[in-house]
């Protein structure tokens, strides 16, 4: 073991920059997920089950499918997202790695945003894979502008993951965390869920503009992102 010559006492650390820590944490999370595939595999399997079970449970016409698919898709993604959200913090508690972050001068909000963006990517990948399958299984063809579905997906996914990441951080230290997260997350997601289902249905059916619901989702995202950022440091350091 070599020693002193390699460890000068010259202070070398600087105040870490928010964006640098955010980027490092996000890349680390993506690398961990790429190697373990814990969240993606569980989410895909769960969503696939929902698609198959519902497609066998009833046999709607194309018109009926357009009316109910928005609800089916988003409820399926919401339940699947919970799997990823629980994983997010579970890997920080293994070996108590979160303590190393808490002891460091890195800003708490960099951790929160990195986790939320990471979950956004994971759920986004799930949606990219599962949406075509939904289209096939339910014989869906949007009558409204299909590109608007991308806007709905982006706003809706952020609405799910920003609150989900926050409430997962709260529930992770509780004994029954798998149950606690849905109990906290679902009630507060109801306005967003309603808006995302209504916007998706409006686009699929092509009989109304989704603009009102998109604005509602946008406001929901801004309000809850700010609230989560303001409160996260307290949650991170709570005993």
């Amino acid at each position: 073991m070599s020693t002193a010559a390699q460890l000068s006492r010259v202070p070398i650390s600087r105040t870490p920059r928010m964006l640098a820590v955010l980027r490092a944490t996000l890349l680390k999370d993506l690398r961990l997920e790429w190697r373990s595939k814990d969240a993606i595999n569980s989410m895909l399997f769960f969503s696939l089950l929902v698609v198959v079970v519902f497609s066998f449970s009833f046999d709607p016409t194309a018109e009926e499918s357009r009316r109910i698919a928005g609800g089916l898709i988003w409820v399926s993604f919401l339940f699947a997202a919970v799997v990823a959200l629980n994983q997010t913090w579970a890997r920080e508690l293994r070996n108590q790695v979160l303590d190393a972050y808490r002891v460091s001068p890195a800003p708490a909000n960099a951790l929160f945003l990195a986790k939320a963006i990471g979950n956004f990517v994971f759920v986004g990948v799930l949606e990219a894979i599962m949406t075509p399958l939904f289209m096939v299984f339910y014989n869906l063809r949007p009558l409204g502008p299909a590109w608007e579905l991308v806007v709905v997906a982006a706003l809706a996914t952020w609405a799910l993951v920003v609150n989900g990441t926050f409430f997962a951080a709260i529930s992770i230290r509780t004994r029954s965390r798998e149950v606690m997260l849905p109990l906290l997350l679902f009630p507060i997601s109801i306005p967003a869920l309603y808006a995302m289902v209504a916007a998706t249905t409006a686009i699929l059916a092509g009989d109304a503009s989704p603009n009102y619901w998109l604005k509602l989702l946008g406001v929901y995202d801004v309000v809850f992102t700010i609230a989560c950022l303001l409160l996260f440091e307290t949650v991170l350091n709570a005993e």
Partner: protein
Amino acid sequence: MSERSQLSAALSTSAVVNPPVELSGVSRHFGRFAALRSISGQFQAARLYVVLGENGAGKSTLLRVLAGLVPASRGRVSWFGGEDLSLVRQRISYMAHASLLYDELNAMENLRYFAGLYGIQDDGICQDAMRSVGLDAALDRPAGQYSQGMRQRLSLARAILHRPDVLLLDEPFSNVDVQSAGSMARLLGQMRDQGCTVLVVTHQPALLTGVADEFVRMAEGRIVARTTDLRDPAETEAAR
């Protein structure tokens, strides 16, 4: 005057004003259980303290309070003369029972990430930290596949890579072979010589007899003795 004497003299002069760590009537309760009971004392710069005591004496809780991971229920903790830990987090480091490492990442990936939390972007610093604990910087297996001793050494590398002024170590020698533990002890001694305040909680104090400046004995949440000798003063008294 030797280099170490000069450094110690300079540090102790400034430490009289602002000791790196000072506790004043610190208590910590978990429900009705008092893990720490009104602890007071100073820990000076360029000194290596070995914290001893039975299981449940409050040693680990003391380190967690000093690291800012657990707030004191009562009393005051000051770091470098101030009570706002957020201003001095860069100067403090903590190594816990658990490794505080990601099992799926290899050694350099772990260190690179934690270095980033301290604003360090230089791989050379991570490699130096690994070499200083006797690990090969080219090791590319995930940390989860390391032996317990290697994980302990990597954990120490993580703790020292940003050159902290206060180093808090909870059982750093557990599951480490005697030779590696001796090397780790020498490294801690060198860090002390360079001005770092080192607090080591251990059940293997003999490993640090050559480098420790003071032995801090705890029992039932209190500091019951601070000696420069490893021998328990109560046992020494009884032997007479």
